[in-house]
């Protein structure tokens, strides 16, 4: 699973600061990441390491007090940072979809799931005019939906546009199909229900369905299973892997849980205090963690198969990013810190096989 040709999305030297009344929070510092087609890339790190900020920057959803100092986000050969908000909205619709942690905050509580899901189809203008419809066949289009649309089209031979009621009906059929795609049983009933009537796992599936309605090529999943129970978490993570294979959607899975990443991701990028400290394929990373932070982090997580009597912890705490440590941001907590670590920032070095490490030791 090493570097395989063209990347789908790439960030170069992404540096983001936040204005706060206490000072400038240096949230991201030269973040380099690539997402390749047909993969799940996990972004792993502790709270405040910049994993969510990375996601928000990619999506163009940074809050007003944030500003990008430097860097590029390349998607289909274009720099997303140069896009207007309107263009970004279009990209979030068709290119890069987002799913967040708490589905209840993102679903409208006063509308049924059906209304919200149908809207996702109805706003896609190109679906509803015969001339542009064929264009939507490019990219990661779910064959199921595609076939369905074509079938409807032949039925409606003659008329160029559907009437409003027809559109509603088609959108409803599409909604049902997409709910089946995310493995929700009884989609007819779910469409008539309000978000509060659904369980957490079902709501998260609805969010995924909505994100898929726009047939994105990339899904950014920010801590999507954190609010869920383990048995439901396992279901959702399996779904994410399935979607990679069935509709060829690559995902960026953001999680604080290294075990979740181990089970789901093809590659893992470990972040610490705004730096990407190590990137490798999941198997490589677990076999041969190189960065001291990754090594220590792995000792901190209990494994149910091998009960231990002593768990490691990393001394010290995550630094305050208003005044981050100079040089390598991990040096105050690093057992191998050298003089050079305090003064010079390491570079993200490729040590072969697509294994990147941000450390002076290598």
């Amino acid at each position: 699973m090493a570097a395989k040709g063209e990347s789908l999305l790439e960030t170069r030297d992404l540096t983001v600061n936040f204005h706060t009344y206490r000072g400038e929070v240096k949230a991201l510092d030269h973040v380099q990441l690539s997402l390749y087609p047909h993969e799940v890339l996990a972004l792993v790190g502790e709270s405040g390491c910049g994993k969510s900020v990375t996601a928000l920057t990619i999506l163009g959803l940074l809050p007003g007090n944030a500003h990008v100092l430097e860097g590029q986000i390349l998607y289909k050969g274009e720099d997303l940072l140069k896009k207007s908000p309107e263009q970004m909205q279009e990209i979030r619709a068709e290119g890069i979809a987002a799913i967040f942690q708490d589905p209840m905050t993102f679903l409208n509580p006063v509308l049924t799931v059906g209304v919200q899901l149908k809207e996702a189809f109805l706003v896609q203008k190109h679906l509803w005019t015969a001339q542009t419809r064929d264009k939507s066949a490019t990219g990661a289009v779910d064959a199921q939906i595609r076939g369905f649309l074509l079938e409807k089209e032949t039925e409606k031979e003659g008329s160029k546009r559907e009437s409003g009621r027809d559109r509603e009906k088609i959108a409803e059929e599409l909604s049902k199909d997409i709910l089946k795609l995310v493995r929700l049983a009884d989609p007819e009933r779910i469409l008539t229900q309000y978000p509060h009537e659904l369980s957490g796992g079902m709501r998260q599936r609805c969010m995924i369905a909505m994100a898929l309605a726009r047939r994105p090529s990339i899904i950014v999943a920010d801590e999507i299973t954190t609010a869920l129970d383990v048995t439901v978490q396992a279901q959702i993570l399996t779904l994410l892997k399935e979607l990679r294979d069935t509709i060829d959607a690559s995902s960026i899975l953001i999680t604080h849980d290294l075990s979740v990443a181990a089970e789901t991701a093809d590659r893992i990028a470990v972040m610490y205090a705004g730096h990407v400290v190590e990137v490798a394929s999941t198997i490589e990373l677990f076999r041969k963690p190189l960065h001291p932070y990754t090594q220590l982090l792995m000792k901190c997580i209990p494994d149910v198969r091998k009960p231990v009597t002593h768990l490691e912890s990393i001394s010290g705490t995550v630094p305050d990013l208003i005044d981050p440590p100079t040089g390598c941001r991990f040096h105050p907590r690093c057992p191998f810190a050298m003089e050079v670590c305090k003064t010079t920032k390491p570079v993200l070095k490729d040590i072969g096989n697509g294994h990147l490490v941000h450390c002076h030791l290598f």
Partner: protein, 339 residues
């Protein structure tokens, strides 16, 4: 029962649902619905279960922070549910709780010192101010902080340090028994172990008894001697830790263990997914509560009461399932009636 410090008998905590103009009670959320358990002196009893399974409500009902609807809680042979105000005050000194969120459980306007001194004064454990401050200093050292932290406010501390302060506050009244309600779920993994190890060390030094509540099964495994699994307000299985984690006998415990993510990408796991979600505690399915999601359920499971059976893991192993299922082959045999 000299060995058991806590005995819970058929404890029920129901919350009424009120509706309509006259706020009539139209139903109940059966958060805890008939739990029996015993905790021995000096041990850590782990309580696991998914959100909404009633773990926290059970913990709070044991301390009578929520008044239980029915059932008994004996702490050192005193019935907590019937204790008078005076008795309760004495009990509260001996039974403490540490909450999940150290950002919410500490008063932002009190210094660490006054947070620690207040419970001592309330329980009349100290007579003078200087004595109180001396004790507070000792407590801070005990939990790995130092004297200069006495005059700081909670916002000056990180999450891990705050949780240490919460531990110090619980220890301020010299308790025998502490309920730890998800004490590390707000902390990052790199500091989680520091707090867990502190708790373990304090238990050893002070002979404390813990009830450790968490949805994180790996953490519970690390901390507990015995573990009980809750589902929809009922305990479905409890056993010695290693028995439960290696040979779970209740189908729910089994699927729960299977769903724990493993930090090893090369570990070939056959995905065994449980379908569906936890039902609402308002409409509890009849019979075994797990039957709508259980792939092994039969008609026997869909009605009647669900008794406990003795599991194969020794005298402390109880399983609330009619069948002994071989999870690899899927074959099931009826368990013998317990006498």
């Amino acid at each position: 029962m000299p060995d058991e410090i806590l005995v819970v008998k058929d404890l029920k905590t129901w919350f009424p649902i009120k509706a309509g103009l006259l706020q009539k009670t139209v139903g109940h959320v059966r958060a805890v619905d008939g739990v029996d358990l015993e905790v021995k002196k000096g041990e850590t009893f782990g309580l696991v279960g998914e959100s909404g399974s009633g773990k926290t409500t059970l913990g709070k009902s044991v301390l009578r922070l929520i008044k239980p609807t029915d059932g008994q809680v004996y702490f050192d042979s005193i019935d907590v549910t019937k204790a008078t105000k005076k008795e309760l005050m004495l009990l509260r000194r001996r039974m403490q709780i540490i909450f999940q969120d150290p950002y919410a459980s500490l008063d932002p306007r009190q210094t660490v010192g006054s947070t620690l001194v207040e419970p001592m004064r309330l329980h009349k454990l100290v007579s003078t101010k200087s004595e109180a401050m001396k004790r507070a200093k000792e407590l801070l050292l005990r939990v790995g902080l130092n004297e200069e932290h006495l005059f700081r406010f909670p916002h000056e501390f990180s999450g891990g340090q705050r949780q240490r302060i919460a531990v110090a506050r619980a220890l301020a009244v010299d308790p025998d028994f502490i309920i730890l309600d998800e004490p590390t779920s707000f902390l990052d993994v790199s500091v989680q172990a520091q707090v867990l190890d502190l708790l373990k060390q304090l238990q050893k030094e002070l002979g404390l008894t813990y009830v450790f509540i968490s949805h994180n099964l790996s953490v519970v495994q690390y901390m507990s001697d015995r573990v009980g699994v809750m589902y929809l307000g009922k305990l479905v299985e409890d056993a010695e830790r290693d028995v439960l984690y290696k040979y779970p006998e209740h189908p729910y415990s089994y699927f729960l263990m299977e769903a724990i993510p493993v930090p090893d990408p090369e570990y070939k796991k056959v995905p065994k997914l449980l379908s569906g979600d936890v039902p609402s505690p308002v409409n509890i399915p009849p019979g075994c509560r797990f039957n709508p999601r259980c792939p092994y359920a039969t008609d026997k499971c869909r009605s009647g009461d669900m008794p406990f059976y003795t599991g194969s893991g020794g005298s402390y192993h109880r399983v609330a399932c009619h069948y002994k299922v071989d999870f690899d082959s899927g074959s099931e045999v009826l368990r013998p009636q317990m006498n």
